[in-house]
Every structure is written in structure tokens, then in C-alpha cells.
Symmetry: C2
Amino acid sequence: MKAYQELSKEELLSLKNQLEKEFEDAKGKGLKLDMSRGKPGVSQLALSMPMLDVISSASDMRTVLGNDTRNYGDLDGIGECRRLMANMMSVNKDNVVVCGNSSLNIMYDTVSRSMIKGVNGSTPWSKLDKVKFLCPVPGYDRHFRITEYFGIEMINVPLNDDGPDMDMVEKYVNNDPAVKGIWCVPKYSNPTGISYSDEVVKRFANLKPAAEDFRIFWDNAYCIHHLYEDRQDEILNILEECEKAGNPDMVYIFASTSKVTFPGSGVSAIASSLKNIDFIESQMTVQTIGHDKINQLRHARYFKGIEGMKEHMKKHADLMRPKFEAVENGLEKELAGLGIGTWTKPNGGYFISFDAMEGCAKAIVAKCKEAGVVLTGAGATYPYGKDPKDSNIRIAPSFPTPEEMAQATDLFVLCVKLVSVEKLLERMQ
Amino acid sequence: MKAYQELSKEELLSLKNQLEKEFEDAKGKGLKLDMSRGKPGVSQLALSMPMLDVISSASDMRTVLGNDTRNYGDLDGIGECRRLMANMMSVNKDNVVVCGNSSLNIMYDTVSRSMIKGVNGSTPWSKLDKVKFLCPVPGYDRHFRITEYFGIEMINVPLNDDGPDMDMVEKYVNNDPAVKGIWCVPKYSNPTGISYSDEVVKRFANLKPAAEDFRIFWDNAYCIHHLYEDRQDEILNILEECEKAGNPDMVYIFASTSKVTFPGSGVSAIASSLKNIDFIESQMTVQTIGHDKINQLRHARYFKGIEGMKEHMKKHADLMRPKFEAVENGLEKELAGLGIGTWTKPNGGYFISFDAMEGCAKAIVAKCKEAGVVLTGAGATYPYGKDPKDSNIRIAPSFPTPEEMAQATDLFVLCVKLVSVEKLLERMQ
């Protein structure tokens, strides 16, 4: 296969002609597929249905410690669910607060609290002239929307195969006191699927922030979301590494069971140093009387412990693998060697990241939409929705079936080819 | 019975002697009762246990509109639950967003949003020199803690039998642009149990706020929480009245099923004008991907509609009535005519409010605690925990059994008598 860049104008024109015909055919198929969000598929949701039987009118509703989960109390979560989430996050139970159904909501609240009250007594961020966050890119659009909402300036930091560009992170964090945070998805990153190397985690833990209230927002959303039994990423424990490095309060860790049990009906948690947890609880006690402890009990009893949860995740993996492979095979078969795109092959998580030729992402997404396949909006993986190279596209293979994913990928590669040919022709003019 | 004020010093001293003996006897009983919070009793919690069977692994998890409650989506709540909560709040479904498990959390978020973003485009409250809230007193301690947390200045407004002192409310709201809100529990008020008269609601609706971003925080927590079949308070519909008065955006209404189903595992909702709802959702979409829709479905299917919910509340009333009556009978029997206390006899809600002689509340609560009965801290019903007269005590009869409530009331009246005698003797010195 010849790279498109090596084709003559005539070859490109003829190819364009042919691809346009194929595209018209594809449109005729009337596809209607959504690969825009990391939504679990229906078969994944079915895996957790037995959890709904765990709590019934016949259940003993008391925790191990005898607290009635049906009534007010246990602001920081019931013990058995704190233990479960602590094990999921590889931290001690005392370092964990179990919250509501959404870890995004905890992140929002964490930024919001910092705006209003500062961090452990520092000046409230809303009183400062300028607050900045580092944003490894491509990254998670909903992280960026939180910081954008609060008027926090976002700075792009390239995300490499082993984590963010740490030279750049150190330069900013260690020198600029306006830099108050960094968004991280350290394992099976959204969207590239990479995991942070031990060296990167250690360099994070050993930062010397210019701002005392700098915090790492460590969204470990995919901590147990492997795709393969024999190819699993593991990352160093950031809380331990921060302690070792004399920065015990520098990190907030977030996780949830949104993609373990039910999106929207799972439980979420934050883990941090005891000092941070105390500060967080002093605000939480004003915000709410407590979270849904019956749902916490439901989760704790269903999984019985972290091993049960990990077994459950193997079933998710069995369902997800064919979908990822359908995409990867389609991309490999149709695009390898053409020089018009590169993509990731993650060992876990929810996404495949595709980098098109510069200036092509928006057009590819639009073309796909025209033929009935909805992708995450181009640019969404960058702060302010602005991908400076207009190159990155996030592919979310979880929701459609493997067959649909194969169909969608066929259309996707066709759109990539067509838009790339058009771009190359445009450059020749 | 002679009023204590009419007793001579000798009579008071002899009474004091006798009461002290009775108190020592009471201490010997080793009571351990908690009347501090509006916690439903165990028998009330049992009423909602069948709801836990409504959703099981065999359930169709789709909404009436076909949306899968197990997955992301329906940010504003599933249709059938929005309808249920709308009917509970006597508003249209379109005016309602169903949220998580805590209406307090919605109130917190509403104030927080106003701090950060202002209200429908007004200056963020955090950027203003001074923000003030009116606080009808006695009132709900957790309301006051929210405004205190955000550094909002709280102004006491007397709560009369028909609602807040509206002359004072109008004076503040219509003249001071720093006054941005007022906390209201319009029906079966916490703690006095009074409900706002039609005239009061109309005067609220017809306010002419100096601040465009003034809002009424209408916490209709006890909207369907009657105690009696034949003595029920009803209040005017504030949203409609505000519309009629040309102030359609002036009110936020809050409610939840915390005291209908399970505290902590219910659903909460906010109702307001469509314009306000749009603004709220523009923030909610940043804060979360959505709330627990399975629990929304559980509620909607269990109650089937507002009539089912109202039937359910009759069972609550049957359990609550004897507890309220145990307190009221005890107070009436032991304190009537003594001139050392007045109390409310609400038709619904969760509390009885007791006003002791000035300067006695703290001492009464302390005395009760000494003998094993925990009351809400004196002062809690006032902003900053400061009751200027040290007079008001909130009694929460819901959690103990009727028998325990009778015992607790016996101790309470004893403490009231003893502290009052001491106070009268002190005044004679």
C-alpha cells in the first residue's frame, strides 16, 4: 500500500472519485450508530442486574457496625463500602470518603470548594487574579469543562505514551504559583488509553509546587478496567509516592463504579491524605446530610470484596474486547501504511484515540455524521474544545455491538481516506 | 396551678428542693433518648421496605419513553419521576429537575452556583462586597449553615404564626440590593410547625426586590407531611403567585422524599421557572452526567403517582401522631398555666417548637442531656447558633417510640421547671 502523500494529483483525484462513490453507498445503508460517549453497552449493563436483587424488603439493612443504612448518618460512607472502594483505589479505608453516584460531581465539588474556601486554609481561588490548571492533551472533555466553568485558565501539556510531558509539568508547577492543579487519568487514559510509567508517577510525587495549594486531580476512572488477562497496565500508588516524597497532601484520587455496575447508579469515592479528608468533610457536612447508603450496601454486599469486583470486571472485558478488536482490525486493515492516521491500542479503558492528518479531524467527524455514525465532537479532547492541530478523534467502542463497531469502523476509515485525499489535493493547489 | 412568677422566694426554694430530688431520681433511670434530629423512626422506615422489591433483576429498566435508566442520560430526571415530584410540589413537570438524594444538596448547589456565576447573568455573589439573606427565626439550622459557610450575612426575621414578619421582609428586600435571598419552610415550618397564610404567600409573590438576583428559597420539605386527616394546612402555590405578580423567576422550590421513603436514599427535586431551570441545567451539565435514575424509577413505580404517595403518607401520620401527642400531652399536663413555657401544636411536619423563659434554653438542654435525653442544641434554630433570647428549643419526636417520647417529655418538663425556678430565684437576688 502506497502512502497517500506519495500519490500524484491524478491518482488522488481518481481515488477521490472512487471514495466518494463508496461514501454515497455507505450513506445509503442508513447507519445509526453512536460512538460519541463512553457508555457501557446493554450486555454490560445486564452483567450487574443481579445486584438489584441483593437488597430487598427481606434484607437486614444494617451495616456490619450495626448502623441503619435507611436513615441519616455515616456521612463518609458505610464502612464496608469504604473498604471496597479503598481496595479498588489501592488506599487505606480511612483515606476514603464514599460519595454519591458520580465521581465527576466530586471533582466539580472539589474545584468548587477550592474556589470558595481555598485548600486547607489557603486563599480561595476565586479571590486570586489568575488560577491555572495543566491539562494533558488529548484528555477528558468533562474535566476541561469543569475548569472552564470556573474561569480557570487551562494550559495544554502533551500526553506522551508514558504520561504527560513531565519536563513541562515540572516547569509550570515548580515555578508558577498560579498553577493550582492538573487533570490526570493515569491509567488507561481517556482517550489515548496509555498508563503513566513508574518514572512519571514518581516525578509527579516529587514535584515542588510553587503554590502550597497545588493539587493533582488523579481521576483513576479505569483502575480495574482491563481488556486482557495477559496484558494489564499497573501504575504506582500515587498516594504512597506522595507520602514518601514529603508531599502527603498533594493528590486527590477519584474513582467510581459507573463503569463497573451502572452509570448513574453506582457509587463514587475520593481518596486523599487524612488532612485533606478532614477539610473535605468540613464542607461536605454543610452540603449534605449524607449519600445513598442503601446503594452503598447494595454494592458492598454484591461484590463482597475487591476480588468479587475484579471477577466481575473480567466479564466486562470479555464483552469489550471484541469491540476494541473490531475497531483496531478495521483501522489496521484499511489504514496501515497510508500515512493518514495513527491510533492507540490500549490494554484497557474505554477509548481508542485516533490522530488524523492535521486539519482533518473536524471534517472526518462531520462526514461520519452525514452517514449516520456519531463520534465525539472533534476538538472535545482539548481544553476549550480547540485541538490546535484539528487532528485528534476519540473513538468510544463500548456502546454498539462488535458487528456494529465493525460497520462503524468501515465507515470511519472511508471518511478518513476521503477527507485526507481532499486535504492533500487542497495542499497541492 | 399558680404561675411560677407568682411564687414567693420560699415557695420557689421549696419547689427547687423537690424538683432537684425528682431530677436525681430521673437521672437514676439511665434514659438514653435522642430527640435531636428529624430522623424518621424505625417503624416509619419499615413502611417503605416494599419499595426495595419494585426493581429487581427481572425488571424492565426502561422509562415510559423507552430510555434505559441503567445508562447515562436524562440529566433532568426520568419523566415519570419528574411527574411524581412535580405533583408532590404542585407544579408542572417541565418546571422540575429531579436530582440526587438530598434537597439540602440542591440548596447548597444553588447558593454555590450564585456565588460563582450569579443568577441568570447577574454579578457572581462572590464578587460583591456584601451578600445578605433573610432568615425567619426560629428556623432550620442546616439552611443557616449553608449561608454561613459562604460568608453570607444572615438577618433574623421573626416568624409569626402565619409566616415571617412581612413588613420587615418587604422593608429589606425592596430596599437593600445586598439582600439576595430568604430561607423559607412555608409549610409545617421547621421548627415551629406553622404554615404561611395566603396573605403572606401573596406578599412574597408581590415583593419588588431591589436586587434583580433576589430569590426566595422555598424549602417545601413537609408539603405532604400531615399529622391529621381532618386538620391539614394548605398553602398557596408560590410559583403561580409569582407568575401572576410578574415575578416569575423569583422563587426556587425544593422538596425530597427523604421523609417519605428513606432519608439518604430518596429523590430530591427543584422547581422553578423555565428560565431559571435552563440556567440551573447549564451548570448541572458541567457538574454531573446525571443522577441515580434507577432510584428514580424505583420511586415512580412504587408510588405509581401522587395519590399513592399521599396514601403512603397517611401511614407515616399514623405513626407520628402518637409521638406528637405524647409530647403535647406531657407539656400540657405539666406546664400549662405555669408561665414558664409556650409550645406549638403543629398539624404536620417533624417538630414541636418550645419557647422557655428568656435565658433558659441552653440550661434546659444541658440538664436534659445530663439525664440522658439529647435535644437539638439550644440556639441551633438561629443563624450562627445564637438565639438572642436563649429561649427556643426544637423538639423532634419522630425517632423514639411514643412510650419513649412520653418518658423523654417527663424529663423535659422537669428540666424546664427546675431551670425556670433557678432563673426566677436568680432574678430575685
